[in-house]
Subunit: 415 residues, 2 copies
C-alpha cells in the first residue's frame, strides 16, 4: 500500500503528462474506460459483494445499503456518465481574455488544469468513476479517498479504469485510490499542500466542517443547504403552492431541498391551509409559529432550533413574516447561502430579493431544486459550492480549472 505522499508524488508526475494531452486523447481514454467498466462489470460486482456482505454484517439496511449496491445496470450508468463527459466541451485552453497592451505585449488569460485534485467522500461508489471523468477531462490527476464501507468496490473500479488508461497510453496515476480508509489518511491529505492543488470534501456536514477547519490545502467546500422559499404578499398561489411542494418533497434528502417556508402575513390565511393539505399528501411534518399552528391542522410548534436545521427529510419549518425585509433578515440569519427563492408577481420585490439575499443561487418563481449542474446546463457536476472563492453554486468542468496569463512579447523590458 502506497503512502499518501507517494500517491501525491505519482499524481504530480502524472499531471505533467496530462497537461500535454489533446482533447481527443482524453475523450478516447474516457470512452475506453467506459468500455472497460462494461466489460469488467462482473469483476466490480464481485468486489461490491464483499462490501455488501460487510455492510449487512454491520446491520446496515434500507436506503444506506441500497446506495452501496452495484449491479450491471448501475455500472452501465457509470459507463454512460464517462461517455457523456467525453462529449462535453474541453474548457482547457479556452482564453477568458486576450488584450494588446500599449507597449505591444499581447496578454491572454487561458484556462489550465488545476494539477492534482484530492477528493474525500462518503458517497456511493459511482462517485469514483464520476470524479475521475471530470478530472481527466480537465487534465487533472485525482487522488480519491472514499469511505471504508465501499473500499472493495472503489478498488475494483479504480483498477479497471487504470487498465483502460494503460491501454490508452496515459499514466495510470491519473486516478489513484487511498486504500487506507482510517482518519489518518484523511488528515494526511489535508496537509499535502506540496502535492494537492485543491481538496474537495463530499459528504455530510461533519466531514465538510472537519476539512474546512483543518485543511492546509485550499478547499472547495460543498454544500450544506438550509434553503428557504418566501411566499411574498404578491405571490400567485398557482405558482407558490406547487413551487413550495416541489422544493420540499421532490427529493428531500438533498442539499437544494427547501427546509423552511416563509409566508407573508397578508397571504397566510389564504394559503397556509391549502399548503398544509398539499404537504399532507406527501406526509410532510410541519413545524410552525403560532399563526401556522392555528392555520394548519396537525402542525407542531417550531423552536429556534427548527430555523437552523437542515432536515434532509419530510419535515418543513414554516414561519409567517410581516414583510419582505423580515424574510431577507431571517434568511441572512439562518440560511447557509445555498439556494433561496421568492415567489412574487411584484417586480421590485423580486429584484430586491435577488439583489440582497446572499446565496449561491437566488430564484424568483421557481423551485430551489434546480440548483444542480445538469439543470444549469453544465452537463456534469462535481458538487455544489457554498463558498465564495473560486466557485459558487454548481461546479462543472470549468470549476476544475485554474488560469494562467500567457504573455507574447518581442523584446519588451520595463522602463
Amino acid at each position: 500500500m502506497l503512502s499518501t505522499n507517494q500517491l501525491g508524488e505519482n499524481a504530480k508526475e502524472a499531471s505533467k503528462a496530462l497537461i500535454r494531452l489533446s482533447t481527443d486523447q482524453k475523450n478516447k481514454a474516457l470512452q475506453l474506460a467506459a468500455d472497460y467498466l462494461t466489460s469488467q462489470a462482473d469483476f466490480i460486482i464481485q468486489a461490491n459483494a464483499r462490501d455488501m456482505d460487510a455492510a449487512e454484517a454491520n446491520q446496515v439496511t434500507g436506503a444506506l445499503l441500497d446506495r452501496l449496491r452495484l449491479d450491471a445496470s448501475r455500472i452501465e450508468g457509470m459507463a454512460t456518465g464517462l461517455r457523456e463527459v467525453a462529449l462535453l466541451d474541453d474548457p482547457v485552453g479556452e482564453a477568458l481574455s486576450m488584450k494588446n497592451r500599449p507597449n505591444g505585449l499581447q496578454i491572454a488569460q487561458v484556462r489550465v488544469p488545476l494539477g492534482v485534485v484530492g477528493i474525500i467522500y462518503e458517497s456511493r461508489p459511482n462517485v469514483t468513476a464520476d470524479a475521475f471523468a471530470l478530472c481527466l477531462k480537465t487534465g487533472n490527476a485525482v487522488i480519491l479517498r472514499g469511505g471504508k464501507e465501499a473500499i472493495h468496490s472503489n478498488k475494483a473500479i479504480v483498477h479497471v479504469i487504470q487498465q483502460a488508461l494503460k491501454e490508452a497510453g496515459i499514466p495510470d496515476a491519473a486516478i489513484q485510490l487511498v486504500e487506507d480508509t482510517s482518519r489518518d489518511s484523511a488528515v494526511a491529505m489535508m496537509k499535502m499542500n506540496q502535492y494537492l492543488d485543491v481538496l474537495i470534501p463530499r459528504g455530510g456536514a461533519g466531514l465538510i466542517q472537519t476539512v474546512v477547519a483543518n485543511s492546509q490545502v485550499p478547499v472547495l467546500e460543498t454544500g450544506v443547504g438550509n434553503c428557504h422559499t418566501f411566499i411574498d404578499e404578491f405571490a400567485d398561489p398557482q405558482k407558490a403552492i406547487p413551487i413550495a411542494v416541489n422544493a420540499k418533497t421532490h427529493r428531500p434528502g438533498v442539499c437544494n431541498a427547501m427546509e423552511t417556508l416563509l409566508v407573508h402575513q397578508s397571504v397566510a390565511e389564504a394559503m397556509l391551509p391549502e399548503i398544509g393539505e398539499a404537504m399532507k399528501k406527501y406526509k410532510v411534518e410541519i413545524r410552525g409559529d403560532k399563526t401556522v399552528t392555528s392555520l394548519i391542522k396537525d402542525a407542531l410548534p417550531a423552536t429556534e432550533e427548527d430555523w437552523r436545521t437542515e432536515y434532509l427529510d419530510m419535515i418543513l419549518a414554516v414561519k409567517v413574516v410581516g414583510s419582505l425585509q423580515e424574510a431577507i433578515d431571517h434568511i441572512a440569519e439562518y440560511g447557509t447561502k445555498h439556494s433561496e427563492a421568492i415567489v412574487t408577481e411584484n417586480y421590485s420585490n423580486a429584484q430586491r430579493f435577488l439583489h440582497e439575499v446572499d446565496a449561491a443561487a437566488v430564484y424568483v418563481n421557481a423551485s430551489t431544486r434546480f440548483t444542480d449542474g445538469y439543470e444549469f446546463g453544465f452537463g456534469a457536476e462535481i458538487g455544489i459550492s457554498t463558498q465564495k472563492l473560486h466557485a459558487r453554486g454548481p461546479m462543472g468542468l470549468k470549476e476544475l480549472t485554474s488560469t494562467k496569463y500567457v504573455v507574447y512579447g518581442n523584446g519588451q523590458i520595463r522602463g
Copy 2:
C-alpha cells in the same frame, strides 16, 4: 479597543449596506475620501511622526525607515490612488453569462461582492488607503491588520477615511483597523470564518506561510517569486541580454524580479561574458555552475541552495542547461509558479514553454517584471496570487468579487 469579533460583526453589518450602493455612490465616497486625505494631511503626518520616532528609537534606518515615512506628496499620492480607483469600471453586477434553459428558466451568473475582506500586512501605510479603495469599489467591507511599526499612521488614515464615509452616508465600518498588533489578533483573524469571506496576507514569506498553514478562512495567497528567464539556443541576443538585465536589475526587491537565469549550452559561450559585463554595471553578484564561473569573471560558485533562493537583491544565480526540457524541469523543481520567461525565436520552443511551464504568468521574449496589475491593464492591484484557486497572477477589482446565480422563473418545478 474593539475585539476582532466585534470588528467582524460590524463589518458584516456594513457589508449589507455596501451591497446596496450604486457605483455613483461608491465613486463619490472615494473622491470624498481622497479630498479628506489631502485636507487632513497634517493630522496624518503628525501621527506618522510618532511611528518614525519609534522606528528611529529601534535603530530602523535606510530603506525600511523610508518606507514608513509619509509626507504631503506621499499622502497626495494616496489620494490620487483613490481617485483613480473611482474612475475604473465597477465589476459588481456584471453578468459573466446569461442562458435560457429548455424549461424556460433564465439563469445569469452575476458578479457580487465577496462580503468582508481581511488583510494582514506588513507593508507601507499607503497600503491602508489602497486596500480600502479596492474593497469599497467592489462593495466589500475590509478589516485591516497592519504592522506595529505603522500603527499610528494607519489609525490616522483609517480615522480620516471613516470621517469621509460618514459624510457620504456610508457605514464607517466599511473600513476598520485592528488596533491590537500582537500575534493574537492575527491568529484571531485566521479563525473568523463566521465574519471573513477571505483573508489576504501581504508581506514576507514567513507571514504568508503562517497564514496559509493556519487559516480556517479561505486565503488568497500572495506571492513569493523565484522567477526564471531561460535563454534558448534560438534566442536573439539583442532581446535576451536586455530582458535578462531588466528582469534582474529594474527592481530587484520585488516578487516578479528574476532570481535565476538559465542559458542553453549552445549559446553560453557567446552570451555569458556579455551578460556578465552588463550585470556588472548594476553591481549584480553572479553565482553560477562551472561553465558560468569559467565564462564570467568574478562569478562565484552556486550551491543547491542558490537555485531555491528568492534573493530580492542584486544577486543572480546562473545555470547552463543542455536542453529546453532541462530548463522546464529546473523551473518545475525550483520555481514558485509566479513568473517564468523564455527568450527564443523558435516557434515550437516558445509554444512548448508557454504550455508546459506551470506558473501564474509565462512569457516569451519579455521581462518577468511585467507581472503587475497596472502593467496588465487592470488599473489596480491588491497583490499577485501564486495559488491556483479563485485568482492567479495579478489581482485587480474582479478578483475581489464572487458570483451568484440569479434564476428567473415563471413557476418552474422540477419533474
